[in-house]
């Protein structure tokens, strides 16, 4: 159904970071927001994406924000960098979703919701680190990879899942010995994201805890946040609720904190 060769081919065809994005990220890293905005404006698709995402209700701006300098200024360095990463990931997403009932708008919604709530969590944990903040952008890559690898065998996968409760990650591991988060890590390397981002996302799978206590704590929050979002009606209807296995025990010790923070009653 899916072979290691197919996965290698998939990773191989992922394009390297485009020059405009690389330059924008470099400038953002050095805190030069205005110059970064100037470079980012050269890429019309990026410009349109940034406008679209920051004007989503979850960002809470009353008036439409359309100027890139203004957008970067409002978002600040960390969030601007994170949004550029989100855009990169969006370049990978399919034009037409088949396996999951998603579209460009609902996928961007998921990215925006994860991003905003992740920011809330990091504030709660008193963590101010732009790499940690950006780590959340890589998480939805697991959804894009599942779509890319499984969409041609959708019916087979549904039949398999009708008799045996298997998630996509487990199917992939059993077929190829590689999981969705290993592929996320390879994408992170290809896009020259920091190792820390890849490590957090690997640990956030819930099945490969990190030895680093801080990374592990972040991974638990990220894992629970993912399932909090995948329990939203839009994403349940998209078929995302059980695309990977929710590790309840992994998040048990942070659940009460999470529930209080998200005001779950």
């Amino acid at each position: 159904m899916i072979t290691k060769d197919k996965i290698d081919f998939y990773i191989e065809k992922i394009p390297p970071t485009p020059k405009v994005l690389r330059d924008t990220l470099l400038l953002l890293n050095s805190g030069e927001l205005i110059r970064a905005a100037h470079i980012a404006s050269e890429d019309l698709a990026l410009k349109s994406y940034l406008k679209n995402i920051v004007n989503k209700p979850i960002y809470g701006f009353k008036n439409e924000v359309s100027d890139i300098t203004q957008i970067f200024g409002i978002l600040g360095v960390s969030s601007s960098q994170q949004t550029v990463y989100q855009y990169m990931l969006n370049l990978l997403s399919p034009k037409k979703w088949v396996l999951f009932k998603l579209n460009a708008s609902s996928f961007t919604d998921l990215q925006a919701r994860l991003s905003q709530n992740w920011k809330l969590i990091l504030k709660h944990l008193n963590i101010d680190d732009k790499e940690v903040e950006s780590a959340i952008t890589l998480l939805p890559a697991s959804i894009i990879i599942s779509e890319a690898l499984f969409h041609e065998r959708m019916e087979d996968v549904h039949l398999l899942r009708s008799v045996h409760d298997l998630d996509f990650n487990t199917i992939l591991v059993r077929l190829c010995g590689v999981d969705l988060f290993d592929i996320c890590e390879q994408i992170a390397h290809k896009w020259e994201m920091s190792d820390k981002i890849a490590h957090i996302v690997q640990a956030a799978s819930g099945i490969k805890p990190s030895n680093d206590e801080t990374i592990n704590t972040l991974a638990k929050w990220m894992h629970l946040l993912l399932f909090y979002e995948l329990s939203q009606p839009l994403f349940i209807e998209a078929g995302l609720n059980n695309f990977i296995d929710f590790q309840v025990d992994f998040v048990a010790d942070i659940y009460d904190d999470f529930a209080a923070l998200m005001e779950i009653e």
Binding site: E155, D245, V248
Partner: protein, 464 residues
């Protein structure tokens, strides 16, 4: 969301958070309709991976339970309830708890008549005395050995000695139990479980299409587990007499086990015996007696009066059957299939060593049976995806093979429905040796397709 169906149990497994906003998304009208059409003994919702729920979040499932009970008489409830979840649900529905709660799927399976592993030593405890008794009775009826702890302290004490029990039941509540004629396959016999008062309703709760197709697939011994039957009326008597007569042309035997005639006229027994139905006191009187089993036809199916031949309609759809099979095996083994030969003939297996087989029947707009003969290595490889590890356990391989053949059946069903041909599939049957399979197929012609998966020979046979 659709339920996963295994061994007569349909299980929904939502993950994350269940509240009033999202449960409608978890369970759409289509999902409920699909569940109502399932032929299962139990419909469960697993709370294992639910980290938060409130009453509104459970209500949609509870409404589905009521519909399932009304339509199918199956047992319904939540499973994988830890202490906190068990208490919360009890609190939400204290005066209205008419579904069951199980601490795990394994516990639920002990209460399912289709569960094949019996004779388990089960330790149980409930604060509610009547629940303790109800659980013990149900477990006993299902062939287990319940051990009841009389108090919480007694339970804790007994739990310390875990090795004495195969299973320990906590956080479990039995709501209304199933009233379906539950079906299970033991070896080559099919066991139906009937209970309470048998009347005209038996015609609705008994799956006659399944029974007829089990006959076609080659089953010859049908046992009615009637320990829990209180009485039967003349309508039920007529039903069973007709069932026996219709099975006679297949040389099938119908037995009743544990039936008491205290509240049923003894003349009924005579009438049923006249129709060819046999009566036994204990299940083991049949299942543990190999000679009797052979005599009753449980090991042989060769003496079919009317052997049916493969017909044009079935052969026309051959490509769909082969496609469904090869696509499934390719998917499960990550290998490619090569078709080597196809011929209409009686099944011929050149080399029977290290081979196992499985069959599944289909019925509806067309009927027949697909037989698959696997080299053990392919079977093991195909099962690895479902089991997650290599295994040499033949029982486990055969069980998993049954799931695999179920997937083939499901795929056939889908492919045929694309051509507006509607079929249902029977429970799969597995054979640890080719000889036992050949007894079934003796004298039957069909289409044999020899396939090769990465060099390993694989045999597909389509017959009626």
């Amino acid at each position: 969301m659709r339920a996963t169906v295994k061994q007569g149990m349909a299980v929904f497994a939502p993950q994350g958070f269940l509240d009033g906003n999202n449960t409608v998304a978890f369970l759409t009208v289509d999902d409920i309709d699909a569940t109502l059409k399932l032929k299962v003994d139990m419909v469960l919702v697993s709370l294992k991976k639910v980290v938060f729920f409130n009453r509104n979040g459970l209500d949609v499932f509870v409404k589905m339970f009521a519909k399932v009970r009304l339509n199918n008489h199956a047992t319904v409830g939540f499973c994988d309830c830890d202490n906190k979840k068990f208490n919360a649900i009890n609190n939400f529905y204290k005066n209205d708890l008419n579904f069951s709660l199980f601490d795990s799927q394994e516990t639920a399976a002990l209460f399912s008549s289709s569960f094949k592993d019996q004779s388990k030593n089960v330790l149980l405890y409930s604060d509610d005395k009547s629940q303790r008794s109800a659980m013990a009775i149900e477990l006993h009826d299902n062939g287990h050995n319940p051990i009841i702890a009389q108090s919480k302290d007694d339970f804790i004490l007994k739990c310390a000695n875990k090795s004495s029990y195969d299973h320990v039941i906590r956080n479990t509540f039995l709501g209304q139990m199933g009233q379906k004629v539950a079906t299970r396959v033991t070896g080559n016999a099919i066991i139906y479980t009937v209970s309470s008062f048998l009347d005209a309703d038996i015609g609705n709760s008994f799956n006659i299409a399944y029974h007829n197709n089990s006959l076609n697939v080659g089953f010859r011994l049908f046992i009615f587990d009637a320990y829990k039957v209180i009485s039967m009326n003349v309508h039920a008597l007529n039903f069973f007499s007709k069932l026996a007569s219709s099975g006679a042309e297949y040389n099938a035997t119908i037995c009743f086990v544990g039936m008491s005639f205290d509240k049923t006229p003894l003349t009924f027994k005579d009438n049923m015996e006249d129709a060819g139905i046999m009566f036994y006191d204990q299940m083991d009187d049949i299942l543990q007696n190999k000679e009797l089993l052979e005599e009753l036809g449980a090991s042989s199916a060769a003496n079919v009066k009317n052997k049916r031949i493969i017909n044009k309609i079935v052969v026309t759809e051959l490509s769909n059957f082969v496609q469904a099979t090869t696509a499934t095996i390719e998917m499960m083994t990550n290998s490619s299939a090569i078709k080597e030969a196809a011929e209409v003939k009686e099944i011929i297996v050149a080399d029977k060593t290290d081979k196992i087989a499985s069959s599944i029947g289909f019925y509806g707009d067309m009927d027949g049976m697909v037989i698959l003969i696997f080299p053990k290595d392919i079977a093991k490889k195909a099962c690895e995806l479902l089991i997650g590890e290599e295994t040499e356990d033949v029982e486990l391989i055969l069980d998993t093979l049954a799931e695999l053949v179920n997937i083939v059946g499901g795929k056939v069903k889908t492919l045929l429905s694309d051509k507006h041909i509607s079929v249902d599939i029977t429970l799969p049957r597995t054979y640890a040796s080719i000889d036992s399979l050949l007894e079934i197929t003796k004298g039957r012609k069909g289409v044999q397709v020899d396939l090769s998966f990465s060099g390993d020979k694989f045999l597909f046979f389509l017959t009626r």
